[in-house]
């Protein structure tokens, strides 16, 4: 049976929900912002798919959900009219000599995920995986199951495919889900922080991310650098672009990045590979991650409203599974 379904919010979860639902239903998208959805956390993110690394800080069930999501991504991207970069060649985790204690405690806290195990690396192993890091690090860890996608390409391609499927769009309208209940069979609330008034426990966690371009650096997979305050990634995207992120600050301030954060991120990236010295800074973006107080996502079903929220720093890692869960609630 085909329903009239409203998807409210056109960030990452909204796009995934619309892609899934538009295969069988009449979907209308409502977004307070414009089609670019610039305030969406998913647009700013580094789009890492890192269930093992994240298992250090999140519960095991979420890390396992991350593994499930990774297996869903290729199918999702295959629906799109344009090609979107997806990679699953693992993550390399490295630490400077003085931070080796942090690397050791990180390794000890990795949770067992099915048959995916971290591999300890010597300096020689690191050179094999990433020749350009040869001689820079004496020890590291390889997390083979991990991956990443190009989120900017995904945002563009998903919009294009949804338009081609005849999905209707309403941009620039601040929609209250109650208003839509009469006119739609189901409402999928994907507003993220836009839902803050309705779900008072939601908070924003500020993150700053830098996008660089440099033909001088050739890293083939995401590199995570141990840092005392943030899980810091350098994620290589197509066309010699690198996404460096992200800070994590308990603040709802969505203003431009600070000098301190920028210095921290850029000096970290430079210590990994001096080739970044001549990289061009394409942009420095700030986003707010929607999070509940336990930093766990929630899928809720009330009447004909299904909400997906609180993905925190795990948008790309968890969204496909959470959207599948939400869609399964539609009878």
């Amino acid at each position: 049976m085909s329903y009239n379904i409203a998807v409210v919010g056109f960030g990452l979860t909204g796009r995934l929900a619309a892609l899934e639902l538009s295969l069988a239903h009449n979907v209308t998208v409502y977004e307070a912002d414009d089609a670019q959805a610039l305030s969406s956390a998913g647009r700013v993110a580094a789009a890492m798919l890192a269930p093992l690394a994240e298992s250090v800080l999140c519960e095991q069930d979420l890390a396992l959900m991350g593994l499930d999501s990774i297996s869903r991504w290729p199918g999702i991207l295959a629906q799109l009219d344009d090609t979107v970069f997806f990679q699953q060649q693992g993550t390399l985790v490295v630490a400077h000599q003085q931070d080796r204690g942090d690397l050791q405690s990180f390794t000890e806290r990795l949770k067992p995920l099915a048959n995916h195990h971290a591999q300890q690396l010597s300096g020689a192993h690191i050179s094999e995986l990433e020749p350009e890091l040869s001689g820079r690090f004496n020890q590291g860890v390889y997390l083979p199951c991990e991956g990443q996608i190009d989120n900017q390409a995904f945002y563009q391609a998903s919009f294009k495919t949804l338009k081609a499927r005849g999905v209707k769009f309403n941009f620039g309208e601040n929609i209250n889900c109650q208003q839509l209940q009469q006119s739609h069979d189901y409402i999928i609330d994907c507003r993220g922080l836009g839902a803050k008034s309705a779900q008072c426990k939601l908070r924003g966690v500020r993150g700053e991310v830098i996008r660089l371009h440099t033909p001088e650096v050739n890293l083939t997979r995401p590199v995570r650098l141990m840092h005392p305050r943030y899980p810091l990634y350098i994620a290589p995207k197509p066309n010699h672009e690198y996404v460096v992120g992200a800070t994590e600050i308990e603040s709802q301030d969505n203003g431009p990045a600070t000098v301190r954060s920028t210095l921290e991120l850029l000096s970290a990236v430079y210590t990994v590979h001096s080739g970044f010295a001549e990289a061009r800074i394409i942009n420095i973006q700030t986003g707010l991650r929607p999070a509940f107080s336990d930093n766990r996502p929630q899928v809720k079903h009330q009447g004909n409203v299904i909400s997906i929220n609180g993905l925190y720093r795990h948008g790309y890692l968890l969204a496909p599974s959470l959207v599948a869960e939400a869609v399964s609630l539609i009878k």
């Binding site: 308990e250 603040s251 709802q252 301030d253 336990d294 930093n295 766990r296």
Partner: protein, 265 residues
Amino acid sequence: MHDPIDDSFSIYGEQVTSRLLIGSALYPSPAIMADSIKASGAQVVTVSLRRQQNAAAGDDFWQLIKDTGLKILPNTAGCHSVKEAVTLAQMCREVFATDWIKLELIGDEYNLQPDPFALLEATKILMDDGFKVLPYCTDDLVLCQRLADVGCEVLMPWGAPIGTGKGLLNQYNLKTIRERLPELTLIVDAGLGLPSHACQALELGYDGVLLNSAIAGAGCPVTMSHAFKAAVDAGRFAYKAKAMPEKDVAAPSTPTMGMPFWHQT
């Protein structure tokens, strides 16, 4: 006999019974932070204004801290100059409506060692401005004396550099400060990793310990919080009970049967 229940210490005239002061950074989630703080039994929680951009932006996080109902001790974490620290202290007084300030002034970027000279200067300025300053300092007796001279009633020497978890690196220094400044409230701040480190600080006669990473960075912060609470109690009881003197020669604790008592050593 001391009644262990009736045992408080003073922070500028305010009586505090829990000898564990706790930080609010680096927890896996705000929910785990709230549970850890509750488990610690702490009455004082430190908070940093520095990276909130502005007060309103951090409202949700502050609400979580305020919900704990604890006394708030704002800090000047990350400040490197007297001017920066004084300005931040003044902002903290406005935002948190308290004249308490944990004054932290970093002198070395790598081990985050406090700058003793700038610390003393900033302490003077803030004490004159009506603040109740709790300076985070090194374990240097003369520095502690100078801080006491400018009116500090509470001092917080380090156990080890921030976040290292190494414990009390120089027990001799800490003991000397305790002996020479008996009237002051002394709290070991920073560098603790294990509950036994906190216990040692209390055994030395320190009034309390302030820690963050040791709990927030533990595999299970809430359980570690319970462990620190027990350790602080153990150390305090031990201090009040007065330890037996240490000896170099073994002495049997039970008389040996069948041997004349004058033959027993």
